[in-house]
Symmetry: C2
Subunit: 287 residues, 2 copies
């Protein structure tokens, strides 16, 4: 197996789900590597569009992934788990399977035992890249340029697998590959990504939103950008990260109420301290 | 007076306070118009820097603004009011005075009677442009390019004054000039700008902020950009817009808690509806 999968070799890579992430991944693989890409999607029009765009070399319609050295699953978490469960007996021995879901505890817990049982190698992944739009029509072979790729290998993941994946992600222009645990991933993502979407979606619901035309500066635009989102995907992701995300919502609400308290009591010193502290933290993090 | 202040004529324009807004305004006036700019700042080094950058033609150090047809006051609200009070007897008859403060009710209420008493013409203004940095070193003659300029004239403001101001703001590359009341301005700004700064400053205070390196995508960057802010200025602005701003904080907190409720009770339909509605509002506003 080691010999078959050396980085220098041309791999057969399956990509399941040709939406924003899977479609962009396919395009990036074709743009920056020499590997063969086998695409799979429930929508025949999407498969055709992917062929037309040169994003895939072959399509897999019969569920037979036995030719693939590596399969990326770019579906929503529950569908990803269902898909691998349904096809795990059609995978090559020691094939690498990586899901690209935005939460990791649930998926890793479901897929890890399956991998052991069926002799494939599973590693969780999450590309930290996205857009306010989705579907193959918005895919971009440079979506991952400069982004972070997060992977959640186990202690048993062979070193050659990590080497292969890290090399591949560098090839398609990720800036960094960060290795962490599913727990740590879900905890951090609750803050950096999920909370941002909850806050942005809440922000836009002020009655004043509808009348703000001509009054908006960059700060409004930034705060509300990700309010435009894919509600199917985010609903599932939020529910599968309930504990960490509700903790983050509680945290920001508590902080917002501190500012409100200082403002409503005209407490200049307290408000100044809150703002100065926030500015100091932000400046420190940007360094 | 009408004759003296025709748009085609070269005006003598005073700019009081050469920080980010006043300094950028001076640079824009020198870059895009032929008017003379008289700068005024408490810091001699700033005056010197403004001369060196070609942002001002003359400096006013003795408080005599009698040569100015138009004076912009680019100070924090309380200082702006104090400054105009102290110098209102050194203004030319029918000179136009415009403050550039981020809140309007307080300033307009203080300066309007003073204008009548001292025979100058006061109009409130607020350029919807800014940066996360401040001071003359960060000024930019193109800071206002594409931005909205908000003005709050009264029913008594002469038409020639509006024509002159609107022409001048177009010259220095504002995209639009919006006329509104001080009340409406303060209400809208609470939502579009002040709340954005409160939320961003609150966001960055999560304990997870310090450990997020490698996990941040664009959404985190957008949500926290304006956490870096000038605490002196924003503390004053928030306290002078207490009613509208606390109302906006209450509104977003109530919405955040709706999302939390849906998440913590695993209510897929409710969470989906909240997210879909937010996305729909945002998409509608962007059209």
């Amino acid at each position: 197996m080691l010999v078959d999968l050396k980085k220098e070799q041309i791999l057969n890579i399956g990509v399941v789900g040709l939406g924003l992430i899977g479609g962009s991944l396919s395009k990036a693989l074709k743009k920056y590597t020499s590997h063969n890409v086998y695409g799979c999607d429930i929508d025949p029009d999407t498969i055709q569009a992917a062929f037309n765009a040169g994003a895939i070399d072959f399509s897999i319609e019969d569920g037979d992934f036995s030719m693939c050295d590596l399969v990326f699953i770019a579906l929503y978490p529950q569908k990803a788990v269902e898909f691998v469960k349904a096809h795990s007996n059609r995978l090559k021995e020691n094939a690498i399977v990586m899901d690209l879901c935005g939460i990791k505890r649930y998926v890793v817990k479901e897929l890890s035992p399956l991998a052991e049982e069926n002799h494939f190698i599973y590693v969780g992944g999450h590309p930290m890249a996205g857009k306010e739009s989705w579907g193959f029509q918005d895919t971009d072979g440079d979506l991952f340029r400069g982004a972070s790729m997060i992977i959640t290998p186990s202690d048993q993941t062979p070193v050659w697998v990590l080497d292969l994946l890290i090399g591949l992600f560098a090839d398609i222009r990720f800036k960094t590959v960060n290795r962490t645990t599913p727990e740590s991933h879900d905890s951090m993502i609750a803050f950096t990504s999920q909370l941002a979407h909850v806050v942005s979606s809440s922000y836009i619901k002020s009655p004043r939103a509808l009348a703000h035309n001509g009054f908006s500066a960059g700060s409004y635009k930034d705060l509300t950008r990700v309010a435009k989102l894919n509600p199917n995907m985010w609903t599932e992701l939020f529910l599968e990260n309930k504990d960490y995300l509700t903790e983050e919502i509680d945290t920001i609400v508590a902080h917002l109420l501190e500012y409100k308290q200082a403002i409503s009591t005209n407490n200049y010193d307290s408000l100044y301290t809150l703002l100065a502290k926030g500015s100091e933290i932000k400046e420190g993090l940007d360094k």
